[in-house]
Amino acid sequence: MSWSWLDWLREAVGQPQFTLLFAPAAKFLVAIFAIFLLIAYLVFAERRLLGFLQVRLGPNRVGPWGLLQPIADILKLLVKEDTIPNRAVRWAYLLAPCLVVAPALVIFSVVPFGPSPTAPGAPRWYVTDLNAALVFVVALASLGIYGIILGGWASNNKFSLLGGLRSAAQMVSYEVPQGLALVGPLMLAGSLSLVGIVEGQARLGLWFAVPQIVAFFVYFVAGVAETNRNPFDLPEAESELVAGFHTEYSGVRFALFFLGEYANMIVISAIAVTVFLGGWLRPFPSVEALAFLDLVPGVAWFFLKVFAFLFLFIWFRGTFPRFRFDQLMDLGWKWLIPLSLANVLVTGLVVVLVDRGP
Protein backbone atom coordinates (compact mmCIF):
# COMPACT_ATOMS: atom_id res chain seq x y z
CA MET A 1 0.00 0.00 0.00
CA SER A 2 2.72 2.42 0.96
CA TRP A 3 4.58 1.35 -2.17
CA SER A 4 1.92 2.62 -4.50
CA TRP A 5 2.01 5.93 -2.69
CA LEU A 6 5.77 6.18 -3.11
CA ASP A 7 5.50 5.20 -6.76
CA TRP A 8 2.93 7.88 -7.27
CA LEU A 9 5.24 10.44 -5.65
CA ARG A 10 8.21 9.33 -7.74
CA GLU A 11 6.17 9.63 -10.89
CA ALA A 12 4.84 13.03 -9.85
CA VAL A 13 8.33 14.44 -9.30
CA GLY A 14 9.19 13.61 -12.90
CA GLN A 15 6.18 15.47 -14.31
CA PRO A 16 6.76 18.92 -15.86
CA GLN A 17 3.90 20.34 -13.76
CA PHE A 18 5.82 19.41 -10.67
CA THR A 19 8.89 21.49 -11.48
CA LEU A 20 6.68 24.30 -12.77
CA LEU A 21 3.99 24.50 -10.09
CA PHE A 22 4.40 22.29 -7.02
CA ALA A 23 8.10 22.62 -6.33
CA PRO A 24 7.94 26.47 -6.34
CA ALA A 25 4.78 26.34 -4.23
CA ALA A 26 6.44 24.12 -1.63
CA LYS A 27 9.59 26.27 -1.61
CA PHE A 28 7.57 29.45 -1.25
CA LEU A 29 5.59 28.02 1.67
CA VAL A 30 8.81 27.00 3.44
CA ALA A 31 10.29 30.46 2.82
CA ILE A 32 7.15 32.22 4.11
CA PHE A 33 7.04 29.98 7.16
CA ALA A 34 10.67 30.86 7.91
CA ILE A 35 9.91 34.56 7.38
CA PHE A 36 6.90 34.42 9.74
CA LEU A 37 9.02 32.76 12.41
CA LEU A 38 11.74 35.34 11.84
CA ILE A 39 9.22 38.18 12.17
CA ALA A 40 7.77 36.76 15.39
CA TYR A 41 11.19 36.57 16.99
CA LEU A 42 12.38 39.81 15.41
CA VAL A 43 9.64 41.62 17.33
CA PHE A 44 10.73 39.85 20.49
CA ALA A 45 14.42 40.55 19.83
CA GLU A 46 13.58 44.20 19.22
CA ARG A 47 11.76 44.52 22.53
CA ARG A 48 14.53 42.79 24.46
CA LEU A 49 17.31 44.74 22.72
CA LEU A 50 15.53 48.07 23.19
CA GLY A 51 15.18 47.08 26.81
CA PHE A 52 18.91 46.52 27.14
CA LEU A 53 19.68 49.73 25.24
CA GLN A 54 17.51 51.64 27.71
CA VAL A 55 18.97 49.83 30.75
CA ARG A 56 15.88 47.78 31.55
CA LEU A 57 15.00 44.14 31.03
CA GLY A 58 12.30 43.99 28.39
CA PRO A 59 9.72 41.18 28.28
CA ASN A 60 11.16 38.19 30.19
CA ARG A 61 8.16 36.59 31.92
CA VAL A 62 6.48 34.35 29.33
CA GLY A 63 8.53 31.15 29.14
CA PRO A 64 12.29 30.94 29.75
CA TRP A 65 13.91 34.35 29.09
CA GLY A 66 10.55 35.43 27.67
CA LEU A 67 11.01 33.20 24.62
CA LEU A 68 7.29 32.38 24.39
CA GLN A 69 6.32 36.06 24.30
CA PRO A 70 5.73 36.15 20.50
CA ILE A 71 3.27 33.26 20.74
CA ALA A 72 1.37 35.00 23.50
CA ASP A 73 1.31 38.20 21.43
CA ILE A 74 -0.02 36.44 18.35
CA LEU A 75 -2.77 34.69 20.33
CA LYS A 76 -3.73 37.96 21.97
CA LEU A 77 -3.99 39.75 18.63
CA LEU A 78 -6.11 36.94 17.16
CA VAL A 79 -8.73 36.98 19.90
CA LYS A 80 -9.19 40.75 20.08
CA GLU A 81 -12.37 42.37 18.85
CA ASP A 82 -12.15 43.68 15.29
CA THR A 83 -13.37 47.27 15.57
CA ILE A 84 -14.57 49.34 12.64
CA PRO A 85 -15.12 53.05 13.41
CA ASN A 86 -18.51 54.65 12.75
CA ARG A 87 -17.76 56.78 9.72
CA ALA A 88 -15.07 54.57 8.23
CA VAL A 89 -15.12 53.69 4.54
CA ARG A 90 -15.79 50.04 5.13
CA TRP A 91 -14.35 48.26 2.10
CA ALA A 92 -11.16 50.28 2.08
CA TYR A 93 -10.77 49.93 5.84
CA LEU A 94 -11.00 46.15 5.61
CA LEU A 95 -8.83 45.84 2.51
CA ALA A 96 -5.92 48.12 3.53
CA PRO A 97 -3.99 45.81 5.91
CA CYS A 98 -4.01 42.99 3.35
CA LEU A 99 -2.56 45.37 0.75
CA VAL A 100 0.37 46.10 3.05
CA VAL A 101 1.34 42.49 3.80
CA ALA A 102 0.73 40.72 0.51
CA PRO A 103 3.27 42.52 -1.74
CA ALA A 104 6.00 42.24 0.90
CA LEU A 105 5.49 38.48 1.11
CA VAL A 106 5.37 37.90 -2.66
CA ILE A 107 8.79 39.57 -3.01
CA PHE A 108 10.38 36.60 -1.23
CA SER A 109 9.64 34.46 -4.30
CA VAL A 110 12.52 36.15 -6.18
CA VAL A 111 15.04 36.59 -3.35
CA PRO A 112 17.95 34.15 -3.72
CA PHE A 113 18.60 32.84 -0.20
CA GLY A 114 21.46 30.64 -1.37
CA PRO A 115 23.56 29.73 -4.42
CA SER A 116 22.25 28.43 -7.71
CA PRO A 117 23.18 24.79 -8.28
CA THR A 118 26.63 23.92 -9.58
CA ALA A 119 26.03 20.16 -9.69
CA PRO A 120 22.96 18.74 -11.48
CA GLY A 121 20.18 17.83 -9.05
CA ALA A 122 21.50 20.16 -6.35
CA PRO A 123 18.79 22.30 -4.75
CA ARG A 124 18.17 25.84 -5.91
CA TRP A 125 17.82 28.17 -2.94
CA TYR A 126 15.21 30.41 -4.54
CA VAL A 127 11.66 30.00 -5.76
CA THR A 128 12.32 31.49 -9.18
CA ASP A 129 15.08 33.39 -10.94
CA LEU A 130 13.30 36.23 -12.71
CA ASN A 131 15.26 38.00 -15.45
CA ALA A 132 13.71 41.34 -14.38
CA ALA A 133 13.71 40.56 -10.66
CA LEU A 134 14.92 43.96 -9.47
CA VAL A 135 12.20 45.82 -11.37
CA PHE A 136 9.69 43.37 -9.92
CA VAL A 137 10.96 44.01 -6.38
CA VAL A 138 10.87 47.79 -6.77
CA ALA A 139 7.37 47.61 -8.27
CA LEU A 140 5.95 45.38 -5.55
CA ALA A 141 7.65 47.29 -2.74
CA SER A 142 5.90 50.47 -3.83
CA LEU A 143 2.50 48.75 -3.80
CA GLY A 144 2.62 48.77 0.00
CA ILE A 145 2.02 52.55 -0.07
CA TYR A 146 -1.55 51.93 -1.24
CA GLY A 147 -2.35 49.92 1.85
CA ILE A 148 -1.01 52.57 4.19
CA ILE A 149 -2.63 55.61 2.59
CA LEU A 150 -5.91 53.71 2.09
CA GLY A 151 -5.91 52.59 5.73
CA GLY A 152 -5.20 56.12 6.96
CA TRP A 153 -7.87 57.67 4.78
CA ALA A 154 -10.56 55.03 5.32
CA SER A 155 -10.40 55.27 9.13
CA ASN A 156 -11.90 58.77 8.91
CA ASN A 157 -9.75 59.78 11.85
CA LYS A 158 -7.76 63.01 11.71
CA PHE A 159 -4.61 61.44 13.10
CA SER A 160 -4.86 58.51 10.72
CA LEU A 161 -5.41 60.74 7.71
CA LEU A 162 -2.37 62.88 8.56
CA GLY A 163 -0.31 59.78 9.24
CA GLY A 164 -1.34 58.17 5.97
CA LEU A 165 -0.57 61.33 3.98
CA ARG A 166 2.80 61.83 5.62
CA SER A 167 3.61 58.21 5.07
CA ALA A 168 2.68 58.34 1.39
CA ALA A 169 4.71 61.53 0.85
CA GLN A 170 7.68 60.04 2.66
CA MET A 171 7.67 56.66 0.94
CA VAL A 172 7.14 58.24 -2.45
CA SER A 173 9.99 60.70 -1.88
CA TYR A 174 12.49 58.08 -0.80
CA GLU A 175 11.59 55.67 -3.56
CA VAL A 176 13.36 57.91 -6.07
CA PRO A 177 16.83 57.86 -4.42
CA GLN A 178 16.32 54.18 -3.63
CA GLY A 179 15.73 53.37 -7.29
CA LEU A 180 18.63 55.58 -8.40
CA ALA A 181 20.96 53.92 -5.89
CA LEU A 182 20.23 50.52 -7.44
CA VAL A 183 21.34 51.74 -10.89
CA GLY A 184 25.05 51.74 -9.91
CA PRO A 185 25.30 48.04 -9.00
CA LEU A 186 23.22 47.26 -12.11
CA MET A 187 25.88 48.83 -14.31
CA LEU A 188 28.58 46.75 -12.63
CA ALA A 189 26.60 43.50 -12.78
CA GLY A 190 24.99 43.95 -16.20
CA SER A 191 21.95 41.98 -15.08
CA LEU A 192 18.56 42.67 -13.52
CA SER A 193 18.25 39.17 -12.07
CA LEU A 194 19.09 38.99 -8.38
CA VAL A 195 20.98 35.75 -8.97
CA GLY A 196 22.83 37.46 -11.80
CA ILE A 197 23.75 40.41 -9.58
CA VAL A 198 25.29 38.13 -6.94
CA GLU A 199 27.14 36.22 -9.65
CA GLY A 200 28.39 39.57 -10.95
CA GLN A 201 29.91 40.22 -7.52
CA ALA A 202 31.51 36.76 -7.59
CA ARG A 203 33.01 37.63 -11.00
CA LEU A 204 34.32 40.93 -9.73
CA GLY A 205 35.58 39.21 -6.59
CA LEU A 206 34.26 42.11 -4.52
CA TRP A 207 31.01 42.98 -2.80
CA PHE A 208 29.37 45.90 -4.64
CA ALA A 209 29.24 47.76 -1.33
CA VAL A 210 32.95 48.57 -1.81
CA PRO A 211 32.91 50.32 -5.21
CA GLN A 212 29.31 51.49 -4.65
CA ILE A 213 29.67 52.73 -1.08
CA VAL A 214 27.69 55.91 -1.86
CA ALA A 215 24.84 53.96 -3.44
CA PHE A 216 24.88 51.53 -0.53
CA PHE A 217 24.55 54.38 1.96
CA VAL A 218 21.75 56.04 -0.03
CA TYR A 219 19.92 52.74 -0.45
CA PHE A 220 19.97 51.90 3.21
CA VAL A 221 18.93 55.36 4.42
CA ALA A 222 16.10 55.36 1.88
CA GLY A 223 15.23 51.82 2.95
CA VAL A 224 14.88 52.85 6.59
CA ALA A 225 12.63 55.71 5.46
CA GLU A 226 10.59 53.38 3.21
CA THR A 227 9.78 51.12 6.13
CA ASN A 228 8.71 54.09 8.30
CA ARG A 229 11.24 53.14 10.96
CA ASN A 230 13.17 55.40 13.33
CA PRO A 231 14.52 57.98 12.82
CA PHE A 232 12.01 58.39 9.97
CA ASP A 233 8.93 57.12 11.82
CA LEU A 234 6.92 60.33 11.42
CA PRO A 235 3.84 58.57 10.06
CA GLU A 236 3.51 56.70 13.34
CA ALA A 237 4.95 59.31 15.71
CA GLU A 238 3.30 58.11 18.91
CA SER A 239 3.61 61.41 20.70
CA GLU A 240 1.92 63.52 18.04
CA LEU A 241 -0.09 61.27 15.73
CA VAL A 242 -0.93 58.43 18.17
CA ALA A 243 0.28 55.67 15.80
CA GLY A 244 -0.83 57.48 12.63
CA PHE A 245 -2.37 55.40 9.90
CA HIS A 246 -3.25 52.46 12.15
CA THR A 247 -4.73 54.33 15.12
CA GLU A 248 -8.15 52.77 14.61
CA TYR A 249 -7.03 49.23 13.82
CA SER A 250 -7.27 46.42 16.32
CA GLY A 251 -6.92 42.66 16.47
CA VAL A 252 -5.87 40.73 13.41
CA ARG A 253 -5.93 43.75 11.08
CA PHE A 254 -3.48 45.57 13.31
CA ALA A 255 -1.39 42.39 13.31
CA LEU A 256 -1.37 42.44 9.50
CA PHE A 257 -0.05 46.04 9.46
CA PHE A 258 2.60 45.00 11.95
CA LEU A 259 3.49 41.93 9.92
CA GLY A 260 3.76 44.11 6.83
CA GLU A 261 6.16 46.55 8.50
CA TYR A 262 8.48 43.81 9.70
CA ALA A 263 8.25 41.87 6.42
CA ASN A 264 9.27 45.08 4.66
CA MET A 265 12.26 45.46 6.99
CA ILE A 266 13.37 41.97 6.01
CA VAL A 267 12.79 42.74 2.32
CA ILE A 268 14.92 45.89 2.52
CA SER A 269 17.65 43.96 4.35
CA ALA A 270 17.50 41.02 1.93
CA ILE A 271 17.73 43.26 -1.14
CA ALA A 272 20.56 45.29 0.42
CA VAL A 273 22.43 42.05 1.17
CA THR A 274 21.83 40.66 -2.33
CA VAL A 275 22.72 43.78 -4.26
CA PHE A 276 25.46 45.29 -2.10
CA LEU A 277 26.81 42.66 0.28
CA GLY A 278 27.25 39.68 -2.02
CA GLY A 279 24.13 37.70 -1.10
CA TRP A 280 25.23 34.16 -0.31
CA LEU A 281 28.96 34.91 -0.98
CA ARG A 282 31.48 34.77 1.86
CA PRO A 283 33.42 37.92 2.82
CA PHE A 284 36.25 38.72 0.37
CA PRO A 285 35.14 36.11 -2.24
CA SER A 286 38.35 36.55 -4.25
CA VAL A 287 40.86 36.00 -1.40
CA GLU A 288 42.00 32.38 -1.62
CA ALA A 289 43.34 32.32 1.93
CA LEU A 290 39.81 32.67 3.24
CA ALA A 291 38.47 29.71 1.24
CA PHE A 292 37.84 27.76 4.46
CA LEU A 293 34.95 30.17 5.05
CA ASP A 294 33.13 28.36 2.22
CA LEU A 295 32.50 25.54 4.68
CA VAL A 296 29.71 27.71 6.02
CA PRO A 297 26.81 27.23 3.60
CA GLY A 298 25.69 30.19 1.50
CA VAL A 299 22.27 30.35 3.15
CA ALA A 300 23.96 30.87 6.52
CA TRP A 301 26.02 33.78 5.14
CA PHE A 302 22.89 35.29 3.63
CA PHE A 303 20.90 35.18 6.85
CA LEU A 304 23.88 36.30 8.95
CA LYS A 305 24.09 39.47 6.84
CA VAL A 306 20.32 39.96 6.99
CA PHE A 307 20.44 39.68 10.78
CA ALA A 308 23.20 42.29 10.88
CA PHE A 309 20.91 44.70 9.00
CA LEU A 310 17.95 43.90 11.23
CA PHE A 311 20.13 44.63 14.24
CA LEU A 312 21.00 48.00 12.67
CA PHE A 313 17.28 48.80 12.34
CA ILE A 314 16.77 48.09 16.04
CA TRP A 315 19.91 49.94 17.04
CA PHE A 316 18.74 53.01 15.09
CA ARG A 317 15.46 52.91 16.96
CA GLY A 318 17.27 52.83 20.27
CA THR A 319 19.64 55.65 19.33
CA PHE A 320 18.29 58.34 17.01
CA PRO A 321 15.68 60.99 17.75
CA ARG A 322 12.95 61.52 15.19
CA PHE A 323 13.40 63.90 12.23
CA ARG A 324 11.12 66.85 11.68
CA PHE A 325 8.97 66.55 8.54
CA ASP A 326 10.63 69.38 6.61
CA GLN A 327 14.06 67.96 7.48
CA LEU A 328 12.90 64.59 6.21
CA MET A 329 11.77 66.04 2.88
CA ASP A 330 14.99 68.06 2.56
CA LEU A 331 17.13 64.98 3.15
CA GLY A 332 15.29 63.01 0.49
CA TRP A 333 14.89 65.61 -2.24
CA LYS A 334 17.88 67.91 -1.74
CA TRP A 335 20.59 65.50 -0.58
CA LEU A 336 19.95 61.90 -1.50
CA ILE A 337 18.68 62.53 -5.06
CA PRO A 338 21.66 64.66 -6.19
CA LEU A 339 24.01 62.26 -4.42
CA SER A 340 22.61 59.20 -6.16
CA LEU A 341 22.46 60.99 -9.54
CA ALA A 342 26.14 61.90 -9.20
CA ASN A 343 26.87 58.29 -8.30
CA VAL A 344 25.11 57.10 -11.46
CA LEU A 345 27.17 59.46 -13.64
CA VAL A 346 30.52 58.61 -12.03
CA THR A 347 29.86 54.87 -12.13
CA GLY A 348 28.74 55.09 -15.76
CA LEU A 349 31.92 56.96 -16.68
CA VAL A 350 34.13 54.41 -14.92
CA VAL A 351 32.30 51.43 -16.43
CA VAL A 352 32.64 52.84 -19.95
CA LEU A 353 36.26 54.00 -19.62
CA VAL A 354 37.72 51.06 -17.71
CA ASP A 355 38.11 48.02 -19.91
CA ARG A 356 37.31 45.01 -17.81
CA GLY A 357 38.91 42.54 -20.21
CA PRO A 358 37.15 39.61 -21.84
Partner: protein
Protein backbone atom coordinates in the same frame (compact mmCIF):
# COMPACT_ATOMS: atom_id res chain seq x y z
CA UNK B 1 8.25 33.21 -19.55
CA UNK B 2 8.37 30.03 -17.50
CA UNK B 3 10.16 31.75 -14.63
CA UNK B 4 7.07 33.94 -14.15
CA UNK B 5 4.69 31.07 -13.39
CA UNK B 6 6.08 30.56 -9.84
CA UNK B 7 5.35 34.25 -9.19
CA UNK B 8 1.71 33.61 -9.96
CA UNK B 9 1.74 30.56 -7.69
CA UNK B 10 3.36 32.62 -4.91
CA UNK B 11 0.81 35.41 -5.29
CA UNK B 12 -2.06 32.92 -5.01
CA UNK B 13 -0.49 31.30 -1.94
CA UNK B 14 0.03 34.70 -0.32
CA UNK B 15 -3.63 35.55 -0.86
CA UNK B 16 -4.57 32.22 0.73
CA UNK B 17 -2.26 32.82 3.72
CA UNK B 18 -3.70 36.30 4.37
CA UNK B 19 -7.28 35.06 3.98
CA UNK B 20 -6.47 32.13 6.26
CA UNK B 21 -5.21 34.50 8.95
CA UNK B 22 -8.37 36.61 8.67
CA UNK B 23 -10.53 33.50 8.87
CA UNK B 24 -8.65 32.12 11.88
CA UNK B 25 -9.14 35.42 13.67
CA UNK B 26 -12.83 35.47 12.76
CA UNK B 27 -13.27 32.04 14.37
CA UNK B 28 -11.27 32.92 17.48
CA UNK B 29 -12.02 36.50 18.33
CA UNK B 30 -14.39 38.13 20.81
CA UNK B 31 -17.90 38.90 19.69
CA UNK B 32 -18.41 42.58 18.86
CA UNK B 33 -19.45 44.21 22.07
CA UNK B 34 -22.29 46.78 22.04
CA UNK B 35 -20.34 48.68 24.68
CA UNK B 36 -17.38 49.38 22.39
CA UNK B 37 -17.01 53.05 21.53
CA UNK B 38 -16.91 53.26 17.74
CA UNK B 39 -16.24 56.98 17.41
CA UNK B 40 -12.84 57.76 15.83
CA UNK B 41 -10.15 58.15 18.49
CA UNK B 42 -9.48 61.71 19.52
CA UNK B 43 -7.64 61.50 22.82
CA UNK B 44 -10.86 60.83 24.71
CA UNK B 45 -12.86 63.82 23.47
CA UNK B 46 -16.06 63.49 21.49
CA UNK B 47 -15.02 64.33 17.91
CA UNK B 48 -16.78 67.48 16.69
CA UNK B 49 -15.91 66.82 13.08
CA UNK B 50 -14.51 63.98 11.03
CA UNK B 51 -11.34 63.77 9.01
CA UNK B 52 -13.22 63.78 5.72
CA UNK B 53 -14.82 67.13 6.60
CA UNK B 54 -11.45 68.84 6.32
CA UNK B 55 -9.08 69.70 3.53
CA UNK B 56 -5.40 68.81 3.57
CA UNK B 57 -2.27 70.55 2.34
CA UNK B 58 -1.68 70.84 -1.41
CA UNK B 59 2.01 70.08 -0.85
CA UNK B 60 1.28 66.37 -0.72
CA UNK B 61 -0.09 66.66 -4.25
CA UNK B 62 3.05 68.48 -5.46
CA UNK B 63 5.25 65.77 -4.00
CA UNK B 64 3.18 63.13 -5.78
CA UNK B 65 3.53 64.89 -9.15
CA UNK B 66 7.29 65.32 -8.71
CA UNK B 67 7.57 61.68 -7.72
CA UNK B 68 5.93 60.52 -10.94
CA UNK B 69 8.45 62.49 -13.02
CA UNK B 70 11.49 61.16 -11.17
CA UNK B 71 10.26 57.60 -10.89
CA UNK B 72 9.66 57.31 -14.62
CA UNK B 73 13.21 58.51 -15.11
CA UNK B 74 14.55 55.91 -12.68
CA UNK B 75 12.77 53.08 -14.43
CA UNK B 76 14.17 54.40 -17.71
CA UNK B 77 17.70 54.16 -16.25
CA UNK B 78 17.35 50.49 -15.31
CA UNK B 79 17.54 48.87 -18.77
CA UNK B 80 20.15 51.42 -19.82
CA UNK B 81 22.35 50.47 -16.86
CA UNK B 82 22.10 46.76 -17.67
CA UNK B 83 23.14 47.33 -21.29
CA UNK B 84 25.76 50.01 -20.63
CA UNK B 85 28.59 47.58 -21.47
CA UNK B 86 27.28 47.18 -25.00
CA UNK B 87 26.15 50.78 -25.51
CA UNK B 88 29.60 52.05 -24.46
CA UNK B 89 30.47 55.72 -24.85
CA UNK B 90 27.53 56.53 -27.15
CA UNK B 91 25.06 55.23 -24.57
CA UNK B 92 26.73 57.18 -21.80
CA UNK B 93 26.64 60.47 -23.73
CA UNK B 94 23.01 59.90 -24.62
CA UNK B 95 22.14 59.33 -20.97
CA UNK B 96 24.12 62.39 -19.87
CA UNK B 97 22.04 64.50 -22.27
CA UNK B 98 18.84 62.95 -20.90
CA UNK B 99 19.91 63.52 -17.31
CA UNK B 100 21.04 67.08 -18.08
CA UNK B 101 17.54 67.96 -19.30
CA UNK B 102 16.10 66.36 -16.19
CA UNK B 103 18.50 68.13 -13.85
CA UNK B 104 17.57 71.44 -15.50
CA UNK B 105 13.97 70.72 -14.50
CA UNK B 106 15.09 69.66 -11.03
CA UNK B 107 17.00 72.92 -10.51
CA UNK B 108 13.98 74.89 -11.77
CA UNK B 109 11.66 73.10 -9.36
CA UNK B 110 14.10 73.62 -6.51
CA UNK B 111 14.46 77.36 -7.20
CA UNK B 112 10.71 77.80 -7.43
CA UNK B 113 10.56 76.39 -3.90
CA UNK B 114 8.56 73.26 -4.65
CA UNK B 115 11.01 71.19 -2.62
CA UNK B 116 10.74 73.42 0.46
CA UNK B 117 8.26 72.08 2.94
CA UNK B 118 8.09 74.85 5.49
Amino acid sequence: MESYVPILVSALLTALIVLGLLLAARLMRHRDSPLTDREPYECGNEPESYAHDHRFSVRYYMIAVLFVIFDVETIFLFPWAVLLDKLALFGLIEMVVFLAILVAGYVFVWRRGALDWA
